[in-house]
């Protein structure tokens, strides 16, 4: 049996940073330079007046590695706050994907039927294709994309995970 300290778990980490040139390169460089995984990364300005951006990183590692990742992020000068949403209580996570399926006949009908089950929206339609918009957690998106595979899947664009803590607390 793998000891608990050796088990790699996925963590979603939210980082509040100054929106300045190079800040994303600093974060990515830190992960690359120290050999940490990035499963997904999203970034956008969240408080324009204060010039703050929020980065959401999904990463995986042993508890010791995750602790290191947080400490390493926290000591970057433009970083204001680091929060491990996986550890610090319940959080909600969402991801958005645009999924293009090109097919005709039964396959086309079937893709539309599955999209309906997954509550995906049709953003674009031609005689031979659909572009679906689907929102959900990563698992739901994976399942949808997998089902679309045999039905003419040609292109996927995903945002990566954004997450926020449940309840009244803020980063």
């Amino acid at each position: 049996m793998t000891p608990k300290s050796e088990i790699e778990n996925s963590h979603t980490i939210a980082v509040l940073v100054d929106n300045e040139p190079g800040v994303l390169a600093r974060v990515i460089g830190l992960f690359a330079g120290r050999g940490y995984n990035i499963e997904s990364l999203t970034v956008a300005e969240v408080a324009a007046g204060e010039n703050l951006s929020r980065i959401t990183i999904v990463t995986s590692g042993t508890p010791m590695i995750i602790e290191q990742i947080k400490a390493q992020l926290d000591r970057l000068v433009p970083v204001h706050k680091v929060s491990d949403l996986t550890m610090d209580g319940p959080a909600v996570e969402r991801e958005l994907a645009l999924v293009k399926v090109a097919s005709s006949g039964d396959k086309r009908v079937e893709s539309l039927r599955i999209a309906d089950i997954f509550r995906a929206r049709v953003l674009d339609s031609t005689n031979d294709s659909f572009v679906f918009e689907i929102v959900g957690d990563t698992g739901k998106l994976n399942a949808f994309i997998e089902l679309m595979e045999p039905l003419g899947l040609v292109d996927v664009s995903r945002t990566g995970v954004v997450a926020i803590a449940r309840g009244t607390g803020a980063l």
Partner: protein
């Protein structure tokens, strides 16, 4: 005055003056000409012209480490900036506060592959604590002040400020430091009292305790070393120091076990291995210290004081982490130790010291000076004997065998006296570092203990030494080999000495003379004392070329991948303990 119009270069220099800078190390070039023009027109800052930019950073490091101030470097764009990368990495690894100002092509040319353009912030991002590209003169003063704040606060480190030529030419307004709001980067300096209490309890109950202290004590300031000494003596516990920490605790003190780690003493490493409570003060469980990680000090509870949270639990899991500045934490610790009237188990402590004395009796640093060949250990020991009672002595080193022998045989009683490249292991560090120390302490005795291979890496700085009449003493242990490389090739590669022989060496005596310095040479053990005496009597730069035993190896040694108790004490030990496959991949 504050609202007076100045250009960017004048604003920059005003920033430096207001940050208490008096000396800067640099090399001019196209992109920094406006700054050099401003330097020409003032007297508050003294500029030291190095001969290659790498030398400027090491000089600033020596300056910073011997004074506790921030070292300042000024270089041009492109090659000027790329040449400082090694020094910046060195300063990052050893936590040395440096502000490095780099020229840059004008903002409208950035990204155009302009002449002498390099992506300096991109290149230096991983080798600095932080870096900046100043895009308008309005941001200049604030950025430079923040750069100094970042460089010196928390765990110190190098900061680069990249300055496009148009920014330093543009007219602007100066903002003094007290008008700049430092909203970000405020590291915690006070330790958590609950954790400190817990640490004191653990320490008081220890039966086999050890203090393991490093460069963080020195970076925390001279008060930290005094507090450490006070606390170690209060407890009666043994204390060992890392290469970076030498001087944080007096070497002559009976509670001092010597340096620990790969070439540390037998007693220090075995005390680390066998202890039941270890208190790590401002050190980082580096691989040179721990040896094989899963056999590192297996039976001990560990306390770790560090100002950088990312140092905690990085390599070794600790039981009581304390985040804070060493001096602050030690002060609280001593207070609590006294108020709780902690009484260590004297019987257990006595047994522990008895055990340590048995290890000490091995006399792991012993060597025999006989015959016609100078042993390197002997040369350093004689240098130490000749200088230990002098008032103001600073030692720098290059990297390799001579560095380890210097660490083993030169005793430091005070902090900030020992400058060596620890984390990065930069050959060529010692001569420019010695220059920086000498600039900061014009009347002190500054000695660079060097190897003949390392010294050639920045030998051009002899010209700087000549220009500023810096009376540095370069004490070369010359074995005509890259000694440490040769040693590893002997121990691990069956004596296949690939490229480690130093062919075609210069005549160091003539080399010294060509730079207006004095060259001396010792070839026999009997020459050593005379050479040292003569060197110390000369009031200018000296290169002392000490011809030593070419095949001497540095012992004791923990082979890479081995644990503390698997230490090799001398040549006789080698055959029995082959290095493991895992160990071979380590360096």
């Amino acid at each position: 005055m504050a609202n007076e119009q100045m250009n960017g270069s004048e604003i920059l220099l005003k920033c430096l003056v207001d940050q208490d800078v008096t000396e800067i190390f640099g090399y001019p070039g196209g992109a920094v000409l406006p700054i050099y023009d401003a330097i020409f027109n003032q007297n508050a800052l003294r500029h030291i012209l190095v001969r290659q930019e790498a030398g400027a950073v090491h000089a600033a490091e020596g300056y910073a480490r011997s004074t506790g101030k921030v070292g300042v470097v000024l270089v041009t764009s492109g090659p000027g900036a790329t040449n400082v990368v090694t020094g910046l990495t060195d300063a990052l690894m050893d936590s040395i506060p440096i502000v490095c100002l780099t020229g840059q092509v004008p903002t409208h040319l950035i990204g155009n592959d302009a002449f002498q353009e390099a992506d300096t912030t991109g290149i230096t991002r991983p080798c600095t604590k932080h870096n900046y590209l100043v895009k308008t003169v309005d941001d200049l003063a604030r950025t430079v002040h923040e750069a100094f704040h970042v460089a010196r606060s928390g765990r110190p480190g190098p900061v680069v400020v990249d300055l496009p030529k148009d920014v330093v030419q543009a007219p602007g307004v100066y903002t003094p430091p007290n008008k700049v709001k430092l909203k970000r980067y405020n590291p915690q300096v006070k330790g958590d009292l609950k954790a400190i209490k817990q640490a004191v309890e653990l320490l008081a109950q220890a039966k086999k305790p050890v203090f393991y202290c490093g460069g963080g004590v020195i970076n925390s300031g001279p008060a930290a070393s005094q507090l450490l000494t006070q606390f170690v003596r209060l407890t009666g516990y043994p204390c060992t120091l890392t290469l970076m920490g030498l001087g944080a605790y007096p070497a002559s003190d009976p509670q001092f076990l010597g340096m620990l780690g790969m070439h540390g003493t037998y007693e220090a490493n075995l005390a680390m291995h066998d202890c039941d409570v270890m208190i790590c003060v401002g050190a980082r469980f580096d691989d040179r210290i721990t040896g094989k990680l899963d056999e590192f000090s297996p039976g001990s509870k560990k306390i770790h004081i560090d100002i950088d949270p990312s140092s905690i639990n990085k390599n070794v899991r600790v039981d009581v982490p304390i985040i804070g500045d060493v001096a602050h934490v030690l002060e609280d610790m001593i207070k609590i130790w006294k108020s709780e009237q902690a009484k260590p188990d004297q019987k257990a402590l006595k047994a522990w010291w008895k055990q340590i004395d048995e290890w000490r009796a091995k006399d792991c640093l012993k060597y025999t000076q006989k015959g016609d060949v100078i042993k390197p250990q002997y040369a350093i020991q004689r240098l130490y004997e000749a200088t230990k009672n002098l008032e103001d002595v600073f030692i720098t080193t290059e990297v390799g065998q001579h560095q380890m022998w210097a660490a083993q045989f030169y005793g430091f009683e005070e902090p900030n006296r020992w400058m060596t490249s620890g984390g990065l292991g930069t050959m060529g560090y010692g001569l420019p570092a010695a220059m920086g120390v000498q600039v900061a302490h014009p009347d002190a005795l500054v000695i660079d203990i060097a190897g003949e291979a390392s010294i050639l890496m920045n030998i051009q700085e002899m010209s700087t030494v000549a220009q500023y009449r810096l009376p540095v003493k370069i004490f070369i242990l010359n074995n005509e080999y890259m000694g440490m490389v040769r040693q590893w090739q002997e121990l691990l590669y069956e004596g296949r000495y690939a490229e480690s022989y130093m062919e075609s060496l210069p005549d160091f005596v003539k080399l010294a003379e060509s730079f207006g310095a004095v060259g001396l040479r010792a070839e026999k053990p009997g020459d050593v004392d005379g050479l040292i005496k003569e060197m110390l009597a000369i009031d200018k730069a000296v290169i002392a070329d000490v011809m030593i035993d070419k095949t001497e190896n540095c012992f004791p040694m923990i082979p890479a991948g081995a644990a503390h108790h698997e230490m090799l004490l001398g040549p006789g030990d080698e055959a029995e303990k082959p290095t493991s496959e895992d160990g071979m991949v380590l360096v």
